[in-house]
Amino acid sequence: MEELKLTTTRRKILIGAGALAAAAAAAPILAACQPTPKTGGSGKVTVMTDPNEFSDDDRKTLENATKLKIEVVKSDLTTLYAMFAAGNPPDVFRVQAAGLPQYISRKMVKNLQPYFAKSTLLKPDDLAPANNFYKWDGKQIGKGDLYGMVKDWSPDFTLFAYTKAFDDAGVKVPSDTTALTYDELRTLANKVNKKAGGKRVYWGFVHSNNDQWIDRTAMNMLAEKNQNLYSDDFSKLVISGNPEATKVIRYLYDLAADGVNETPIDPSPNWMGADFNEGQIAILQYGYWFSAMAESDKTKGKTVMLPAPTWAGVRRDPTMTATGWVISSQTKDPDAAWAVFEQYMGGKPAQDRAKSGWGVPGLKSLYPQMPQQTDFQKQVQKVLQGELSKSDFILQFNPYIGEETFSTSWKKNLEPALKGTISFDKFVQNIESEVNTAIADGKRIIGG
């Protein structure tokens, strides 16, 4: 058996490391490598989307309607960026509104205004208000040219109540005609919140799906006071310097500290919709689309939809996801991409989606197709009609940061804050400093 001498190895490693450094210094610039050009006009359109929102039947329908071949890639942010880095992004991809300002600023998506102007299926007058999230005037969203469209949407701040939890607590289920204030909601949540023997029975009020969109919840509350989390030019996150923002953040923090919401120190292994179906959530904040699956074996006949709560008496119930599609700026065949886009948004798949009740259609002309058969569906429609009139708003997202920058920082700092390792003030400061660093990075990258 041969034994390696480690003493000689050390010298070799040192020599090796030196050679490594020399080789490294002499080598050419990696970043200068050109991406391989994609062959255009292949009659194939790549769509990156969530398979749950794009069935195989949808694909076949679209292939028949457009005479194009469609390749589906599962939606994932890391993959999307990797494909862009490879110079080979999907032709069409799924986005949520919060990411859009950044995609547009980084010139990743195509201006679709000329296509909408010519389309017979997707007429500008017919577009639901949620599509305003896809307008960009060069500075901010809400007006200007269209860059995409929602596949469907919902006023996202409505509540779903599980009546059994209220019965157990001896508390009356709130009315579905008057909106609660957020303060009333917190009081109520603490009453119906329940643990037994260290185990969770009901979460009082669950929102933002493990805080994934906590910033959007906060932004909509703040908007009732005509304020935003960010400075007007989006160059800074301002919480501690803005008493109104501090109040909203404090409120959301208190909900977490109360233990009525799912938090990093009291997490649920499930997403919040599944927990509701399991009968473990008393009040859940979710959009209309959730009504399509809110009734499980456990919750059937015990679920009601409630109007969105209000923070300052000015009710707003826009969508906060505005999930939809955009077309890549680098697509080799924009006409083919548009053909698929147009059919998905206005053709048979759009009608099928409207009938299923999984969201309010992106076209107003499809509204009447939403289901209204069961008692629950009727109750939901009644509440929804009231909410639609409050839904013509948008949330101004920060173009310099990714859609999960704020929530990532929130989640990371919430854990030590709830454990008592850091104070609320420190919690806010940490988020501000982390997000502001990210904003500065974003500004440096895209200029401005």
């Binding site: 034994e3 990696l30 292994p269 440096r444």
Partner: protein, 321 residues
Amino acid sequence: MAGATHVLPRVMPRPALLRRRAVRRAATFYLLVSPWLLGFVLLSAVPLAGALLMSLTNYDGLNLDYVAFVGVDNYARAFSDPEAQHALLRTLLLMVLVVPTGLVLQLLLALMVDQPIRLSNLFRTIFYLPYVIPVVAGAWVWKIFVDPSGGLVNALVGAVVPDVNIRWLVEYPTLVLAVFTIWGAAGGGMVIFLAGLQGIPAEYREAAMIDGASPAQVTRFITLPLLTPVIFFNLVTGIITTLQVLVQPMLLSPGILGLSPGTVPPLDNYLYPVHAYIEIFVKQLFGYGAALLWLLFAVVLGLTLVLFGTSRRWVHYGVEA
């Protein structure tokens, strides 16, 4: 080399001929190692040079339109980044928790299965198994084992203290991670110790026994000193691997298993490579992330060199087996 002289031509070759042979031999060598050499240049040297350049820019992995040279900004930033400091401390803590305990355990296991016992192959297999279990499966094993409601750990604890519901991954994430890491690495280290033990001539130990040494004394004064090169090897590799732990804490995050851009492990398990990963693949800060990784390399290199420095004092290369 003694054998080689026999095949030399009887006539002593002239210097030119010798040189030609040397050149041919060298050519043969370089031809044989050329795949590695080429791979090294294209897949290591060039990318590493790229990483070095990248770390001096604001590259976002996406667009070359905005790339700008930022000097050593990224490195300066790493030194003032509280998250990077926290993450480095957590990584070093994990190393302190895992490496010494792991080393002792590996040696212990090797000594135990090196004895003439029945079923020794079964024992070896059991200890080796976690080492070959893929990281994803290992993460599931521990997630389920410590699951608050469906796990065995809480069931056992509950048998002693009723009505407990410890959420291990939330309350003691680093403990679980450390145990997972030790459990996963033990088999690999054990086998290498075993190889070392089997390389120690039996006469050494037998002679000591005849002289009246107890088994403990034999281990202490004969086996251990002869094993120091192996201990050293396992120590170095243990440190290098632990400093790089990245996927485990992400997979062990409470909640649904699976990496998505939003997956942040609990703060206690927010290790240094995790921080780099998030800066690069979530925040798209390739430049800054590259700088963070070069600093990690510096730490690894530094620790390795320090260890080699101390090795003179305690590693004995006495026996050529």
